[in-house]
Amino acid sequence: MKTAYTKPTALLAYLILATAILWSLAPGLFTQGDPIIGDDRALLAPSATHWFGTDSVGRDLYTRVIYGARNSLLGALVAVLVGLIIGTSLGVIAGTLRGKAETIIMRIVDVLLSIPSLLLSLAVLILLGFGTMNAAIAVGVTSIAMFARLVRSQVLSVVSSDYVEAAYGVGSTRTAVLIRHVLPNSLTPVLALVALQFASALLQLATLGFLGYGTPPPTPEWGLLIADSRAYLATSWWLTLLPGAVIVAVVLAANHISHIINQEGQV
């Protein structure tokens, strides 16, 4: 059947994401170069030997982008998981318990939402210390509020439906109703948010990397690559543009998939 999941644009989005994931799983398949040690002249323009050119110490930028995928994607994944797990739990608790628990949780969520996300993630980073995983957790914390709010509203609408009452009617316990009926019917929009937050986490991680709070050099990371090359923007613009284009492509692909999930509903 032809649905939005099989449209050409969707296929392109899958392809981009799949490539990025393959880069992070098996970078050696895509490049023979070394991401840490440079073996050529610095600041070469893109060519057949160096597809993206070389950076300020002669390392092949294409190789560094590919090896950087692992750190960036893993970071984004951890960030989304942090937001998903904590946010969904909070949302489910708020939506099912109602009353005081809901008020307290949702007011905390409001506070989280009111703090600009970059500021919040920097604050968390300062508490936890710098590093790849800590940056990921910091970015994840900023998405907790989004997940909690979405899940709560979903749970509220599902909980009031007839089939949930019918399930209580045939003697199911609250936990059973939650697992059998409420969660499966609340999660489709959450899945869309996962894809969307994945994209935004990637961007936020790149921002943190750019600012120097993420993965320390010389390990390649997408945000860091752009930060390193910004001094040469006037002469070697491709050093900033090409890694930037890769980030944009992956972010757009994840965004597009999120959009499709939202549109189509049922996965």
């Binding site: 439906s161 199911s172 499966p184």
Partner: protein, 520 residues
């Protein structure tokens, strides 16, 4: 010369999965000053036909017709409002909530450049029987009842003095007494203004009462067409005959016998002085009745009468603020154990089944909660109960979306019965179903009651159905118990004005009394 003449109307929808022919070869006419009714079940193409005439179908519909003419002129979109008015189905959804009543009615007048709009609107509001037009003019739809809103929509449709009104299920969302008032109003407007009405309805009784000509549709085609009297008194097609036989309101008072009056037996359920208060709103007050084992007790009332609240309290889904419910000699408290003894079947089979659960899992869920049966034993029981409600056991692995409304309601019944409850609360359990499906479900319920000795609490707004299925009845109005007794007694000899009004509002009176609308 007919007012509206439609010949050979075809409509098809193009979707990504292919082209669907929704309506083919429809011919119909509406005479000046008369009503033509299109009758059919959901999916028969009756609304599609009406909307095709007025040109309001979505873009993926393609319409072809020999001719659609209004007084020998082809119908064009320009005529919309001016020559052809539309009364939509659901009054609560059809008025813009951010506009006042006056603005809504005036909109058409303004678009067509009328002067002195306000006084015209006030006159219209008065004409359709809205009290205090000056005040209503400034009110918003949410401040008015559903019936009042439907009057507003009729006023809006009449504003430009059209020759033809298309009324698409104008009363389906309304209470039966309000339905009668609105249909009376339409009749009155038709006579006063000499307009023609094309009435779309699923209710053959309504069509029989109101229409001069009836067009019966099934699966996109006209099955039977003719003068109302002919079609009702002398239906030629088996489909029309079945519709007539299955319509409870048409059967009332004629062939279908009332159920044997009293059944001696032990009292299984007794309700004393049940009351429910929300804040300072009393939803239910002083409800008392008793039900004998194996009988059916009906609670009848209009929306907001507190009948569903009563049903939910008895099913243990809410704790009433006052009163006492005794089941099988035991005072009832909401608890999980009670759930097994009282089961509920809901009105809407589309919302009462989890869309992500298979049919088998849905039916077996209760068994898993209350018994220690193994998965295999549960599966076996599920198969048995699927057969009991006349469904194929193979459906156990399907999901609700693959089933029709009637099939889903059978699943909901199986889910309730598998726990072998003492009492089954049927909350408007047949109201959302087409008339033939409704008749099938009612027959199934009767059969199951005889086989299993079930006790039903049948909550409904439909007196015709209640008369057919129940032994005893409680009539409710605004949270109060108005009348209570044996069904036969209450229906033949109603004691309260409210019951009399309800009974008088059942459509199909002309059919039952044999004074047909001959269209003369």
């Amino acid at each position: 010369m007919s007012l509206l003449n439609v010949t050979d109307l075809n409509v098809s929808y193009t979707a990504s999965s292919g082209t669907v022919q929704a309506v083919h070869g429809i011919n119909l006419t509406v005479e000046r000053g008369q009503t033509t009714a299109i009758v059919g079940e959901s999916g028969s193409g009756k609304s599609t036909s009406a909307l095709a005439i007025i040109g309001l179908l979505p873009d993926n519909a393609s319409v072809s017709a020999g001719a659609i003419t209004l007084i020998d002129q082809p119908v064009t979109p320009v005529m919309r409002g001016k020559r052809v008015g539309l009364i939509p189905q659901d009054p609560t959804n059809s008025l813009n909530p951010t506009k006042t009543i006056g603005e809504s009615v005036a909109e058409g007048l303004r678009i067509h450049g009328h002067a002195d709009v306000k006084s015209k609107v006030l006159r219209l509001l008065e004409k359709v029987g809205i009290d205090q037009p000056e005040r209503r003019y400034k009110q918003y739809p949410h401040e008015l009842s559903g019936g009042m809103n439907q009057r507003v929509l009729i006023a809006a449709a009449l504003a430009l003095e059209p020759d033809l009104l298309i009324a698409d299920e104008p009363t389906s969302a309304l209470d039966v007494t309000v339905q009668k008032v609105i249909l009376d109003l339409l009749d009155q407007m038709r006579e006063e203004l000499g307009i023609g009405i094309l009435l779309i309805t699923h209710d053959l009784a309504v069509a029989g009462d109101r229409a001069h000509r009836i067009v019966v549709m099934q699966q996109g085609a006209v099955v039977e067409e003719g003068l109302a009297a002919h079609v009702l008194a002398n239906p030629r097609q088996p489909y029309t005959q079945r519709l007539l036989a299955d319509a409870p309101s048409l059967a009332t008072g004629s062939q279908a016998p009332l159920r044997p009056s009293t059944r001696e037996g032990e009292i299984i359920l007794s309700v004393e002085n049940l009351g429910q208060v929300y804040g300072n709103f009393t939803a239910l007050e002083g409800l008392s009745f008793e039900v004998t084992r194996g009988s059916t007790h009906a609670i009848v009332g209009e929306s907001g009468s507190g009948k569903t609240t009563a049903g939910r309290a008895i099913a243990g889904l809410l704790t009433p603020s006052s009163g006492q419910i005794t089941l099988d000699g035991v005072k009832l408290k909401p608890s999980r154990a009670l759930r097994q003894k009282v089961q509920m079947v809901y009105q809407n089979p589309y919302s009462s089944l989890n869309p992500r659960q298979t049919i088998g899992k849905a039916i077996g869920e209760g068994l898993g909660n209350f018994t220690n049966l193994t998965k295999k034993q549960i599966q076996q029981r599920v198969q048995d109960y699927l057969e009991l409600v006349s469904l194929s056991p193979e459906l156990a692995n399907r999901r609700p979306r693959e089933l029709s409304g009637g099939q889903r309601q059978r699943v909901a019944i199986a889910r309730a019965l598998i726990l072998e409850p003492d009492v089954v609360v049927l909350d408007e359990a047949v109201s959302a179903l087409d008339v033939t499906v409704q008749a099938q479900i009612l027959r199934l319920l009767e059969k199951l009651q005889q086989e299993l000795g079930l006790t039903y609490l049948f909550i409904s707004h439909d007196l015709a159905v209640v008369r057919q299925i129940s032994d005893t009845v409680t009539v409710m109005s605004r949270g109060q118990q108005v009348e209570h007794g044996e069904t036969a007694h209450v229906f033949t000899n109603p004691q309260s004005d409210f019951t009399r009004t309800l009974l008088g509002a059942i459509p199909g009176a002309s059919y039952r009394h044999g004074n047909y609308n001959l269209g003369l």
